[in-house]
Symmetry: C2
Subunit: 235 residues, 2 copies
């Protein structure tokens, strides 16, 4: 609850804000608070107006879309260090998604109007936001390409390979959260996800709960039909 390190030290330590003027840094500090949030906590609701620009300092956050009928799906995952939906904040438009903490997180919350003001006066901050927005935009494009061009099993295989790369390229990996959430991130039901995983069980992977051992990397890669543009360089 209480900031262990003074706010200004945290901000000074962030590469994201390294190039701010001292004046800008002061304004930023005055308009910010640090919060700890427990796993499961909702940071904001779909449809809400952004009052803060949230910066994820530690941990990861799910952005969930909800249909009129009430079903909910993971649309985006934001991991520290990154901005939470700067697109909504800079355009002062309602959030399209709900933000829920995947794990215990710490966030920096900057008053939205101050943040927008700083954007005009601090070229460095503008540059940071541009970099962040472009990265998030490209991630969304990749996801659309995946949804439109790849069937379920390919998406699952690709997901496992991406996970492997993020976990130090070892053939043993741990699913980062519940399978139901992963399924919705991949655009399928948990039943389908479960079935696809079991279909991989015979020769390609070995699964035990959240633990997955990749037995036949070559086969998995072949199954995913990787595209270096979408998936990054070969793992």
């Amino acid at each position: 609850m209480q900031p262990l390190s003074p706010l200004s030290d945290v901000i000074a330590a962030l590469p994201m804000f390294a190039g701010l003027s001292s004046e800008g840094r002061r304004i930023l500090c005055d308009a910010s608070v640090i919060q700890q949030a427990a796993r499961g906590l909702v940071l904001f609701e779909q449809g809400a107006d952004p009052n803060f620009q949230t910066v994820v300092l530690k941990g990861a956050v799910h952005l969930l879309g909800r249909s009129v009928q009430g079903q909910e799906m993971v649309i985006e995952v934001v991991e520290a260090p990154d901005l939470l939906l700067p697109a909504a904040v800079v355009s002062d438009s309602p959030y399209l998604m709900r933000a829920r903490c995947i794990e215990d997180v710490s966030v920096l919350m900057i008053k939205a109007d101050v943040f927008r003001g700083l954007l005009a006066s601090e070229p460095f901050l503008a540059h940071t936001v541009i970099g962040c927005l472009s990265g998030q935009f490209r991630a969304m494009v990749r996801q659309i390409m995946t949804l439109k061009l790849r069937p379920g099993p390919q998406r699952v295989a690709g997901y496992l390979l991406a996970l492997m790369r993020r976990q130090r390229n070892e053939t043993h990996l741990t699913l980062p959260y519940e399978k139901g959430l992963i399924a919705s991130q991949l655009g399928m039901t948990r039943e389908s996800f479960s079935r696809i995983l079991t279909s991989l069980q015979y020769g390609i992977i070995h699964m035990d709960g959240q633990q997955i051992q990749i037995c036949d990397l070559r086969a998995l890669r072949e199954l995913s039909a990787p595209d270096p543009l979408i998936d990054g360089p070969d793992p």
Copy 2:
């Protein structure tokens, strides 16, 4: 082929560049050319490195994703006036998609390195790019939500309603391009799209080639299960 109006006049007339310093405007002019491109022309290829920041001045451009297996789908539509994939240009990363002119377009092409340089020295340009990026990001999020949360018929109904709104809210509308392209934009095959349209034929719409008459707006809206966040205010 040849610029009818001098380059500097075109740039001066664009709201997008209205706030540039005179110095910035000079640099921009020196690094830019205006091009006319015919319908069907490919402006750049998927995987290419961005040499220019393209500004669509007139017309519209399709951004197409291609899978390893070779099938191609419309991922995004960019209409004048807007930037073509600033996310790739500012991050100096390969284009994720191919750009193809839907119709005859005119574009302004700015050398990419000069554009990135101006971004640092011209706060107004940075602000423009932030606005453009955030708009495009939100469009991608909406598309993902549509793909993940809505079945085919809802997507088609929603598309028709969106089209109606863009065409002065009249109940008679014209499909902007071939049905096959619209189908891929909606994430389905042309056969599925055709079947869904015929299923609407009986009472809800009347279709004749590219012309569509909406007979029962209420039913169409109900079928689309609209979400004001995704679809905008009620048409």
